[in-house]
Symmetry: D2
Subunit: 431 residues, 4 copies
């Protein structure tokens, strides 16, 4: 973040807000001024005060807004892989628009951006109270999702044809880049369209988003799986539990689940390269653990150790994500071969919960967060702000320019409280 310039954190807006917010009729609204900002660096001290005090606009309802609610049409789209809380976001976007702003027409887009391309997707859904009634208790997204972009021009055509003024794009960094493209295309055509992103990142890899909805729910299921692997390992002579968890570019799920479980002995993440061989390599350390304690639990993020796996490029998926080698199966083979070569009999149990941890309903903290992100996105959009996503820094919801947020992937800081706690709870060596 040291290369940030102050203007990187400025929020684009369609124009002056002249319409009194209909929320004024409600209690306990907590209106926020545009001038209120959250410091990126909330530390103070000799090594911090030298940095320029970057800050982000605080999210929240504004007293005056840009769009006339009675004449506004909004739409929400969910893209990419599932994350617990998607239905909660959809429902709260709908509720805030419909009940509080009294926006008459809220549309649901089916199957991701594909649903904004009439050639490819299913028709838009007119959302109603009945449509969203029970969905907050269900996993997945009632609107469906899909991977991959659509032409911005096609999408803006659809928005024009349907009269959509405001588009909420729920998804990861690919989705947000798509949202930016849509906003730019609309601006190129001189249209007053607000495009607001809601970050969906179960892997927790979007910048300026300390965590998004779904992450802590995923930890609950991941920790259950770790407990299962730990039980298997403890109940067999020289038992080794090996669990692969989600995390293509960041080790947050692996680290969080391991710290919650307190039973992991090794946590391998993309941010911390490791080597397999040699006295100070992973395999020798695992052997020491097995000889000393007779059981071990190894947690590996799917993006870890990619450098160790030889072989050709696997290409990219429809969202443009690089396909990864399967580090779980790779490690399983390496561990088994190693102990065979050492003539030590081990009982390795491999667990790969994969999609299981992401298709469950959201837990309370994620339900609260998805509700709040959704409502903040509505406030931002109704105020004519665009090209932004709802960020979350130091426990405050903020506005982040999409371009800035997606400039790079967030990774786990190895000096953070989370990783240092993982290191201390596992007793894992340096590689």
């Amino acid at each position: 973040m040291h290369d940030l310039r102050p203007q990187d954190l400025d929020i684009a807006s369609l124009g002056p807000c002249t319409i009194p917010s209909p929320l004024i009729r409600l209690q306990d609204v907590g209106f926020v001024e545009d001038s209120t900002r959250i410091r990126l660096e909330h530390r103070t001290g000799p090594q911090f005060d030298k940095y320029e005090p970057f800050s982000l606009e605080e999210a929240g309802p504004r007293r005056t807004i840009y769009f006339d609610p009675r004449k506004t049409c909004a739409a929400v789209v969910t893209c990419g892989g599932l994350s617990p809380g998607l239905n909660n976001v959809i429902r709260s976007v709908y509720s805030e628009l419909s009940y509080n702003y009294e926006v008459p027409r809220v549309l649901g887009v089916r199957d991701g951006y594909m649903g904004l391309n009439p050639q490819a997707g299913q028709p838009l859904v007119e959302m109603t109270p009945a449509y969203v009634d029970h969905i907050h208790d269900l996993g997945g997204t009632v609107l469906g999702s899909s991977r991959g972009p659509q032409e911005p021009a096609t999408i803006v055509d659809t928005m024009q044809r349907e009269g959509i003024d405001v588009l909420f794009c729920v998804g990861g960094d690919g989705t947000q880049r798509g949202a930016l493209g849509i906003a730019q295309e609309a601006r190129r055509r001189g249209l007053k369209k607000a495009v607001v992103g809601i970050p969906k990142t179960i892997d927790n890899d979007i910048q300026f988003v300390q965590t998004s909805f779904g992450y802590y729910t995923a930890l609950e299921k991941a920790q259950e799986v770790l407990r299962g692997a730990h039980v298997e390992a403890r109940c067999a002579p020289n038992g080794i539990g090996l669990v692969k968890l989600m995390g293509r570019h960041s080790g947050y799920i692996a680290a969080g689940a391991a710290l919650a479980s307190q039973d992991a002995n090794f946590v391998l993440i993309p941010e911390v390269p490791f080597k397999l061989d040699g006295e100070d390599g992973f395999l020798a350390a695992l052997e020491r653990r097995i000889l000393h304690k007779n059981h071990a639990l190894v947690v590996v993020a799917e993006g870890a150790g990619q450098d160790l796996m030889a072989g050709e490029c696997l290409g990219t998926d429809a969202s443009g994500n690089a396909k990864l080698q399967d580090v779980g199966l790779f490690l399983r083979e390496k561990i088994l071969a190693y102990f065979r070569s050492r003539s030590i009999e081990v009982n390795l149990k491999y667990l790969d919960p994969s999609y299981f941890i992401r298709s469950v309903p959201a837990n309370p903290s994620d339900r609260i967060l998805s509700d709040q992100m959704a409502r903040m996105a509505v406030h931002a959009a109704m105020s004519g702000k665009t090209d932004l996503l709802i960020g979350y820094m130091h426990n405050e919801l903020v506005h982040v320019p999409i371009a800035t947020a997606v400039a790079q992937k967030k990774q786990l800081d190895t000096a953070s409280d989370l990783w240092t706690a993982v290191m201390r709870s596992t007793g894992q060596p340096m590689w």
Copy 2:
């Protein structure tokens, strides 16, 4: 079962029971007579009354017993793969022996039969109230487990050396065959040892055991995974959820989880051969489902479709179980190839919860069942009965000669209420 002879259901006994049961001091004991038996066929009607009324001895405490509790030493061993309820069995065997029969010495065998071989295993554990205090809330087995037999002679040597009169063997059919070998070796030496089996079969494949502990708990976790796969399938265009569940020889887990979930469209089990190709094959049926409904959930038991997978024999594992080809990965490839060949884009999500469903703590019904099986095993052993396992027929706990129980694997009857309900709830075609 039509080949059964009446004597197949007779229970071996070490000798006459002359010692008054110490349970007489307790309330609400529910003593059972040896002469009370449970009919195998509890139906009546023209097609049933022609069968000889085979029956099994009812389990339960006897008024007079064989072993003098004050001088008895007992041991319990858990073998093979995990199943929810193992710790509950250990704890209830201990509690019934220690508190109710006031047996002074109850030993725990570490790591399966290996722990009865001093060359191979860890020392025996003297069980105490503290040792078993919390274990009923934990998955796995506090004693550890392992696969594979040990020499009966070695085990009987250990029993003699340690003064073990009564051995409780908790495990599947391999374990029970081992128990039978131990009992026979003891008898050959003229020793009065009672060997009683407690059936552990998460797959539900032991005869005369309608279900054992762990099965319904496994269904809870399996159903959660099915729900996840269903959510994934519904949220993607042409989404297919494919879930592999445990069940090497029997489809009970797959069928039970599918019926509980009500979301499965195809359930493939070992008992029902299917074919992949052709108009009436699985792949064409799946295509029809996808074209009609845009999503599908397929559940496959690990032992299903073995005949479809070409290739050499994979040998056996340490318990002597034939290693199976991975039908889940096989189906994934076949499905993807098929739809590619049909130029239909599908989103297949494969979930293999494997050990996850068996390493969790037991649910209440399994906790109750494991408590009761354990106590019944104690009653049987204290009464000098041997070479038997605790069976469960028509909701009654019974004594089953091990030799009879392990003569063949139980499989799911395709005319049973369970399978017919699966067929009707899925609408799955005949292959």
Copy 3:
């Protein structure tokens, strides 16, 4: 049951079945003959063989049926308190009728019998696939429920007006008595209406129903509460956890949850009177436990100890159930007063989960059972059988005449495996 006469177990029928079942087109149907019956006494032995072999008709699809599916209209009503599995019953009744029998019109009755009285209730619902799509994952009943009867004449009027041929009544014994009244009224008018009951009894107090849907799910939540109370008790000096559980006339929930938890020290149920005072009373026993172990867990069924509570009659609720004094609050006061009088400081924590344990979604075993009961009810009704409910004996689903089933409440047999195991796991004294 010794006063049963054979004809008590005969099933009433509207007339001969001449229409081939449309299920013939399906696989694995498992047709059952009317002549196949399940013995009530499946034991054999000197003390059993003297009893006449009563038996109940086995439930299941018949090859020929009474109603022409294409011309049949069915309705389902849920009455009384909630039980996990109600939505599963509704969904499976609908599915079996609609998909398998291809009955064109299935109605849902709103808010219990009230919905069959046009003066009192809401209109009937035309059930559709969308209506039942997600309901099996939700607690409660999507149709709503209410307590109390309606005039049979009014209900039969509604059935005539709406053309309802077949009525499924899901509820407890009051509901089933209501169902019987409806059937009798229809017969009096010479109408060919089948009225089939599906027993809903979370308390497990309907005869000839070993357990119904909801019971094991209730145990899961009840056991969680017991665990909480046990934790509270163990973590405080002289901690006493006191938990009141459902069970107006029978102690099944209290006994089952206590046995599953293994942590209860006292289980007080309606079937076993106890006294508070004296050396052999409950309070002195509790004091001994506290002095010996410093913590105790007491489980009381809401119907226990009614004789101990002085005071006037509290009348009956809308279903005609006698209102009970609150034994939980009564015991709390008695325990606190007793220990005060003994100058022993205790920490009593009282938990009353009440409706919480019954409003959750069904667990897998209850989902399977509610599916099967629902389908069996459909088979019975389509075969023109009436005045019956679906019973469950020795793990088989059977037909039971309603009049026989509701003749008395089922109670927990203190010689049963369940209660003797509770006695042995708690070490509770005789009062």
Copy 4:
């Protein structure tokens, strides 16, 4: 907080830190300087910049420490009511001291402060790896707890006699005041003792602690109960679910659970007085809801509406907390009487989960937080810091002088994102 003086946030210390931290040998330690502080106000803008920039010392390991680990003896005590995560705190305090600092002796205090009074309590426990092995998966506190203070002089006597240098006090504000008294007594005697608090507040009512461990776990259980009450309410004609949740002085649990559930229609908390009667009172609002929607869910924090309940003072409990009138039962009566007076039949179901929501094991986010708070407390104490508790502000763990933290109770800010979201999701009126 506007009356704070800068020195209120200064941390007391026993003296200069001259001993190199043994953590230096470990990887990824993340040492923190004393000079690094976290701003209390992390907003910037016209209305914020006028405030003096108060800041709190960041928690974390220091490079040089005060106590020589090899000669240090530490003890941990848990006091007051249960909160999910207590065992996790105990285990991580032990682990950090024992494995990372290599402190040779870590003692556990039994049953709260009582265990530091040899006249009153049980002996201290020498903690070992086996003692803490499984406890992180269990609810409650393995050390036991109790309410109420002990004489600081008695406690310091015990610390001297046992050689305890460092005391960790886990508890609420009463406990922390006790900790402060102990520290002051030790200082008065000229002893170098570090007393460090770890805030336990399931109600979330300690200042400078954004949330503590247990809060989000409590929300999970509370939300389950709300779902049950909502199901009951929807399934009965004019159903009203009324749920009382913990929260003596603050409405965080009620607000958080209601927002997570999205089903609540009224949330009554101590911070927001309400009136029952009149057109704009609660009862009339509830009637409007019932007439409009036929069901309602009301959530009330135990400390809400105390002003409405006439009657004498109920005194205080052993911790000095004022005993509260039971607002749940009060509201139940008021609601029933009101609708009776309006001749509207309602079905009210009252649920009071009470201790159930606090005796469960911690969820992953609480497990992570309790681990981190525990380790931070160890770092603080080993660095000779005292009279402080581990606070949590803007997602950073900080040092807070106990005197400042306990000066007043934290309450829910009605302008906060949490409360405004509750208001918008319920549509609840102003009273």
